[in-house]
């Protein structure tokens, strides 16, 4: 009897413990899902900008063979093209509803080519005309196919002196522009992007990163022996890891080859935005450099800087980088301000094991996980949508509407830096300088504060010009007048006439 009571008591106690511990764990995980760095570089939790709509595994999609290490993904309109690298095939999906993605077909044969199979395709792109471009890495070619997978032409190894004859050509990632020119990142080629004309002629390398080395390293090289030289790292430009072309034709590149030291010294860029000449034109006006997590120390089994595997650019110029190291997504706006960070490594929905590609469909994000072999579909929350609305309204010149949207954002997250600066900028455009200054002051935005203050000061001077003139005159004239009076007094004193 006594034993039974103890047993029941113990069970009840453990049940209570379970009941209390589970929600605690769950809330902890949730609250850390989205965060942002504030002015001081402190991590601030924030409301989720995106929610997981659904996670689609191979069986959800109705695939008979599971996806195997899928590496590349491309989205055009409602269609999702996935390079199923491990199975040497292309999987075409269609998004039929808000939360449904259905299989259209899988393709592993192409028509009209001597080599009619794919070998480890790593990336795919589809032009507006419907032509399909595939980086067929194992076959050292980039294929151009029509929408029915009929062979049109192929882009081979570039005919350039920089490449030795025995060097394999391994096209890894491709983008195409509106004229169907192809830009390619090839493994082992570090001279930038390979650019082909639409007729498959090689037209040069663009956008190689600057080689950085310091004088000390240079001296060391000068005096090192052959064996030492072989052991040292050579000064070569970093290779890009992925590319994306936005709707204006600018190419965004990411690389994970930069070291923590280079990133912190601003010698290496994790993200670049290339124009047609291959120059980096990414705007870096944000409080923090664009390299993902600021803290690179070891934690939770991961260390080092964020390693961007892919990048996508929304139509409102927000770009989202996918970190394969810690499984996070980093959103930045067109000025380089951090917008949101979310995600993580794990097995739950919204967490990744080895994310390899990201693309967007409208404002919805699709992330491909190459280890989990799944697609995760994110849709913006109310908060995320408000942030986007506010930014888009500002871009089209609807400053008042933008300010109102930022006010809504602030109601949901009173800590959100961009909301304060957004309201401030909106007020600045509405010529309410004093109020704008207050908002910029709160978030230490010195540039915008200066702009607002300059106008405020001008207005103040114009309004009070009469008083200012009087004060200045008074400052100069009163001593002058006193001097004059004293002088007259002295003269009077000296005058014989009055002293009689």
């Amino acid at each position: 009897m006594k034993n039974k009571i103890i047993k029941i008591g113990a069970m009840a106690a453990s049940a209570v413990m379970l009941a209390t511990s589970i929600p605690a764990v769950a809330t902890a995980a949730e609250s850390n899902y989205s965060y942002i760095y504030d002015y001081w570089g402190d991590v601030q939790e924030m409301p989720d900008a995106y929610n997981v709509c659904d996670v689609f595994t191979s069986s959800d999609l109705g695939l008979d063979t599971m996806l195997k290490n899928p590496d590349g993904m491309y989205v055009r309109d409602n269609m999702i093209y996935i390079c199923d690298t491990g199975n040497n095939r292309i999987v075409i999906l269609e998004r039929t509803g808000k939360d449904s993605i259905e299989l259209v077909k899988t393709v592993d044969k192409i028509k009209g080519s001597s080599i009619n199979t794919l070998s480890g395709p790593t990336d795919i792109a589809v032009s507006e005309e419907g032509n399909i471009f595939i980086a067929d890495k194992g076959n050292s070619r980039i294929l151009k196919l029509d929408s029915e997978f009929n062979y049109i032409l192929e882009f081979g190894k570039p005919d350039d002196q920089a490449l030795t004859a025995d060097q394999a050509f391994l096209p890894n990632k491709i983008v195409i522009d509106t004229a169907e020119r192809v830009y390619c990142i090839a493994t082992g080629i570090n001279r930038g992007l390979i650019k082909y004309e639409a007729d498959a002629t090689f037209s040069g390398f663009i956008g190689a990163t600057k080689v950085v080395y310091n004088f000390g390293e240079y001296l060391k090289k000068k005096f090192a022996s052959q064996e030492q030289l072989a052991r040292m790292e050579s000064f070569v430009p970093t290779e890009y890891d992925n590319i994306y072309m936005d709707n204006e034709g600018f190419i965004y590149t990411v690389t994970d080859a930069t070291t923590e030291e280079d990133l912190k010294a601003e010698k290496g860029d994790a993200v670049r935005k290339l124009n047609l000449l291959g120059n980096d034109i990414l705007v870096r006006n944000g409080e923090w450099p664009i390299y993902g997590d600021l803290y690179m120390g070891a934690g939770g089994g991961y260390s080092g800087p964020s390693q961007f595997a892919d990048i996508t650019v929304l139509d409102n110029d927000i770009f989202i980088c996918l970190d394969k190291n810690r499984g996070r997504l980093f959103g930045y706006d067109d000025q380089g301000n951090m917008v949101y960070i979310f995600g993580g490594n794990g097995n739950m929905d919204g967490y990744f094991r080895m994310p390899s590609a990201i693309d967007h469909m409208g404002n919805d994000l699709i992330v491909l996980d190459s280890l989990d072999n799944s697609l995760t579909l994110f849709i913006p929350t109310e908060f995320g949508q408000l942030v986007y609305t506010a930014m888009e309204q500002f871009d089209i010149g609807e400053y008042e509407a933008s300010g109102q949207a930022w006010e809504e954002v602030m109601k949901l997250d009173g800590n959100y830096t961009l909301a304060y600066i957004g309201i401030g900028r909106s007020l600045l455009r509405q010529k309410q300088y004093g109020e704008a200054m207050d908002y910029f002051d709160l978030k230490y935005d010195a540039d915008n504060y200066s702009k607002a203050f300059q106008q405020y000061r001008k207005k103040w001077v114009e309004k009070n010009i009469a008083i200012i003139v009087i004060v200045i005159l008074a400052v100069f004239l009163i001593p002058l007048g006193i001097g004059k009076i004293n002088q007259i007094k002295r003269e009077i004193d000296k005058e014989e006439f009055f002293n009689k």
Binding site: D447, Y449, S450, Q454
Partner: protein
């Protein structure tokens, strides 16, 4: 002592000696000579200038506009470190300078070195406090001037202190510069000795603490 505070001439003397710091600014050689030889300076005025210097350093943190100066992360601020950042080097300088010059025919006494050095600090509060106030009325482009003026105030103070030492010790220019450099070395040596001293003391204390702990465990 309190009797003196009731007398009127105590105050007039204090304000006169404080006002003399402004004369020193424009006539450093003449001024510093009179400071000790004609007894124009006073401890009270020197203490006031030092206090104002420390005050300016602290007020700057809060009241300089964020347009000019990086905002301060208050959680990381230790106010005593900021006070010590002026008082500690000053103490080292005074002691080091007096210690060295006394051995090489320096005429100045320890108190005189202190007074003269404090008078030499005058440009710092005199420049920094108006700059701090003005910083709230400028834009980021106009702020470039502030860094320059701020540096000028420091260099000005530095020159004044060096000249002051030459005058109160009755050194020639060459000897004065030599002893300025020597004093800086003396400061380094003192810092080194202080650090050695502190680490030895702390190790010594730690030794006895561990013995005490050991005894407590055994008993």
């Amino acid at each position: 002592m309190f009797e003196a505070l009731k007398k009127k001439e105590t105050y007039s003397k204090y304000f006169k000696s404080l006002k003399f710091s402004l004369y020193v600014l424009s006539h450093p050689l003449d001024g510093f000579w009179d400071l000790t030889h004609e007894k124009r300076g006073s401890y009270a005025a020197a203490n006031t200038i030092l206090f104002l210097t420390v005050l300016a350093r602290l007020l700057k943190l809060r009241y300089t506009s964020f347009v000019i100066q990086e905002p301060v992360y208050w959680e990381d601020i230790n106010i005593f470190v900021y006070i010590a950042s002026i008082v500690f080097p000053l103490a080292l300088w005074v002691v080091g300078n007096w210690g060295l010059t006394t051995l090489f025919d320096g005429k100045g006494r320890l108190g005189q070195v202190y007074i003269a050095t404090c008078y030499g600090l005058t440009p710092y509060p005199l420049f920094q406090i108006p700059l701090m106030i003005a910083s709230n009325f400028v834009t980021i482009e106009e702020g470039q001037l502030f860094a320059t003026l701020s540096v000028i105030s420091l260099v000005y103070a530095g020159i004044l202190i060096v000249l002051a030492m030459g005058q109160i010790h009755e050194f020639s220019l060459g000897k004065n510069i030599l002893f300025t450099i020597a004093t800086l070395f003396a400061m380094l040596v003192m810092i080194f000795i202080l650090m050695v001293f502190f680490s030895m003391i702390s190790q010594g204390v730690a030794y006895f603490i561990s013995i005490g702990k050991e005894l407590m465990f055994r008993m």
